[in-house]
Structure formats: C-alpha cells, structure tokens
C-alpha cells in the first residue's frame, strides 16, 4: 500500500456525503454580523452552534482592546515564548488567570488543543498512566498519545468504573493522571467531579479537568465545574475560543511544577506565541466575564428556554439542560436531512455523526449564547417544530 491509498476509505465517505447534497463540514460564513447572526448562502442565519456562550465576539470593549494592541504591538509575535515571542501581555494574562482561579500558577498556550496536549505530554510519560473519561474530547486522547504514557478509559462520568481501573493499576495508580471534562461538549452533561476527585485522591493520583465548555458557564463566578462543586483540581485547562471569544488556551495549577512545563512542553515551546491582539481581546473578555455575571444568567435563561421548548416538542435531548442542547436523531441519514432543512430555514447548528457522538448516535447539537434574544430562541424552536417527524 502506498502512502495515499489509505485515504480511499475517507474519500468514499466524503463522496457519499457529497452525494446527499449536504456537506456540513464545508459551510462558509460569508459574513459574521453579530455573535448570533451570520450570512450563510446569501441569507441571514441564526448561529446556534458556535460555543460563543457569553456572546463576547462583538463586545465593543474587546474589539477596542484588540485594535489598540494591533496598532501598538503589531500583527504577530513571529516567535515562541522561549525566544522573541514573550510579551508583557502574555505574562499579564497568565497573572489574571491565576488571580481569577485563585491558583498560584498559570500558563497560556496558542490554542486550546495545544493546552491539552501540551499539559498532558509534559506531565506524564513512559511508565506513567492516563485514565481518560470515555467521552473525553479528541484533544485529550491526542495528549495521551503524545505523552507516551499508557492510556486507559473508564466509563463516562462513572466514579466506580474509575475506582476499579485505578485499583487494577496497583502501584502505578499513584503515577496516573485522571482526565475529565467539566461540561461535556457533545451532550452537555456535567462531570460528577466531587466523586471523581474523591476516587482520584484515594489512589494518590492527579486530577486534570478540562473546563473548555464550562469556563464562564458554570460556578458562581464562572470558574467552571470546579467552582460549582468546590473541587480543587491539580490541573485545570481551558480555552479562550468559547466564552472568551478569541483563540488560545491555558492551564492553572496549585503545583509549582507548572512553571517548569515551559521547558518540558513541546506544544508550548515549539510554536509561535499568541498574537498581541488576541491576548488583548482575551484579557478584555476575561474582565467582562468577571464584571458581568448577568451574561451567565442570561445564558442559562436562554439554555433552559431552548431545552424546555425542544423537550415539549417531544425531541429526545441530552440528559440535563445546559448551554449545549443535543437533539438525538434516529439515523445518520435523518440527521443529515434535518440539519440541512434547519440551515435552509436560517438556523445553523452542528451536525454530529458517528463516531463523534459518545454512543455512536447521530445528533443535532445546538449551543446557546447569552447574546441570543428571546425572539431568536423562539425562532430556533419553531424551526425544529416545522421539521418532518420521524416515521415510527
């Protein structure tokens, strides 16, 4: 087999998708009009699949901060943090994140993906183990692979399953990183973090929590699932590309060892540092997140309204209301058709096909923003109401 032959299966799947007349991976946003509206296919479309939880992408304070940084510091750093790309604003953002989480140490990365793989690969290695929640994001699996540690899975959100597996590792359990998410990105369900943390501590393992979808969403101050459950994790990782409306990622920790990751994390060392304008908008967005708890209140009002509305229509949804509202479809074909009908009706959501969904099912995934108006949420519900019902 030559190097390119392995793509034939992928090509066949891609062709099959194109033959349906629907390609959800190739949607072009011709113009973003606001946090909740874009022009797609020449028409005004409500964006209900963007993870723009606090709706800060068009916040005037954030835009002004980014524009000022562009004018004052230029378009990019052209280097890594280890070389010429270490700007004062990077360190200021790290200090602000440490302060926000009330953890002593913080480190930023160029993407959320890099934060996950960079933290995991620096922390564990050959001879160590990683215990991953079964529904964990692909970046966490990739982090495990990059680390060289033995990677095991436990049943999703199941502390007993974790306990059994850590028991089976014997002495290696104390050299194990337990990796979970605060809020799961596909079904919108929360981790039973208190129980998982207790099991982790009982085995003297380390707890790593990815708060990508829970920063700004959960907890009294928006610090995520750790705040909501009162758990102190060993490493908390997150992204700037959802609630903070920019790009980048971070890790905060009570452990001083995090400061040494700067010399051990290849995804941190061997890439250009984030652009000054990105750092500036992220800092402004973090300040907004902290100063405006009403954004979180509005987000949850919208999330509950959409979840209740779709539930009343009889759709089978994720296990609990959250800003991620997943609608189960009974087949891949139906999911594709319904996704296209919604787009044609001016509603953009995410299409999740096997194997991306946790249980191999097909889903229409909505994500709600604080910036959605009541009328927009009503319009999304109405579009779902108009979908042809499945034949039983």
């Amino acid at each position: 087999m030559n190097l390119l032959e392995k793509f034939s299966t992928l090509e066949a799947t891609h062709d099959e998708l194109l033959a349906t007349g629907t390609n959800p991976t190739d949607v072009v946003v011709e113009q973003a009009l606001s946090p909740t509206e874009s022009i797609i296919g020449g028409r005004r479309t409500i964006m209900a699949g963007t993870n723009n939880y606090l709706g800060l992408t068009f916040d005037q304070t954030c835009i002004a901060a980014g524009q000022q940084a562009l004018a004052e510091s230029g378009t990019g750093t052209t280097g890594s943090r280890m070389a010429n790309g270490n700007y004062a604003s990077h360190a200021q953002l790290e200090q602000e994140l440490a302060d926000f989480y009330d953890y002593p140490y913080a480190m930023i990365f160029s993407t959320g993906y890099a934060a996950n793989i960079g933290t995991m690969a620096a922390l564990v290695g050959s001879g160590d183990a990683i215990m991953l929640d079964g529904d964990a994001h692909a970046s966490l699996f990739d982090g495990g692979k990059l680390s060289g540690a033995a990677v095991y899975r436990f049943k999703h959100n199941d502390a007993e399953s974790l306990d059994k597996r850590l028991n089976r590792l014997g002495d290696q359990a104390s050299r194990t990183l337990v990796v979970v998410e605060g809020l799961y990105s596909i079904l919108g369900d929360r981790a039973p973090l208190k129980e998982l943390a207790e099991v982790t501590r009982a085995h003297a393992a380390c707890l790593f929590v990815d708060e990508a979808h829970s920063l700004g969403v959960l907890g009294e101050h928006g610090r995520g699932r750790i705040e909501e459950t009162g758990v102190e994790a060993d490493f908390v990782v997150g992204t700037f590309s959802k609630s903070l409306g920019s790009t980048g990622g971070f890790c905060v920790s009570p452990h001083k060892a995090l400061t040494l990751f700067r010399y051990a994390s290849r995804p941190y060392m061997f890439t250009a540092s984030p652009c000054p304008s990105v750092i500036a908008t992220t800092r402004a967005a973090l300040a907004q997140l902290r100063a405006r708890p009403e954004l979180r209140e509005r987000l949850w009002r919208n999330a509950n309204k959409l979840y209740d509305g779709l539930s009343q229509l009889g759709f089978q949804l994720g296990p609990e209301p959250s800003p991620v509202v997943a609608v189960r479809m009974d087949s891949r074909e139906r999911a594709l058709t319904m996704w296209q009908l919604l787009l044609d009706d001016g509603i953009y959501i995410n299409l999740i096909l096997p194997p991306a969904a946790p249980d191999g099912s097909s889903l229409l995934r909505c994500s709600v923003s604080a910036a959605h108006t009541d009328a927009q949420i009503d319009q999304i519900i109405e579009a779902f109401r108009c979908l042809p019902r499945a034949t039983q």
Binding site: A129, G134, K145, A150, Y152, R153, K155, S161, R165, G360
Partner: protein, 83 residues
Amino acid sequence: MSNKIPAIVTELTGLLIAQLPHPSEVAPETDLISDLALESVQIMEFIVEVEDHYEIAISLEALAETRTLEQIAQLVSNILDNR
C-alpha cells in the same frame, strides 16, 4: 497459541453479541471494524466490558494492534499471564 485462547474467544463472543446493535454472526477471525462495521466508540464500550469481565486494564496502545476477537483474546491472555 495458548490453549486458553479458545475459551477466552467464546467468552468474548458472548460479551460482544450482547452489545451488538443488530444480530450478527461472530467468529474468532471476525474483524470488528471491516466485518461488523463497529464504530470506534462501540469497540471502546466493548473493551470496557471485557476489562470488567476479566478485571484487567487494557491500554489503548495495546488495543491498537488488535482487530479480531482472536487477537483480543490473545491480548487478554497475555495480560492475565503477566498479572
């Protein structure tokens, strides 16, 4: 091949059939991906059941080398022998 393998294959077959979304014929050389068209998440769920059945831990990298029930049985047998 260890003489334990056929017995493990029989047990694995039972575990797998209980989990299949639709009835299928399963043989030791059945390829979980190409013959049964299982998605990676379904294979992972099957492996979690296998781990609990034998009270072992199977790492993802060890699993990456297996595609058939017979190969998984060999892996299980190796882990049990090294315990």
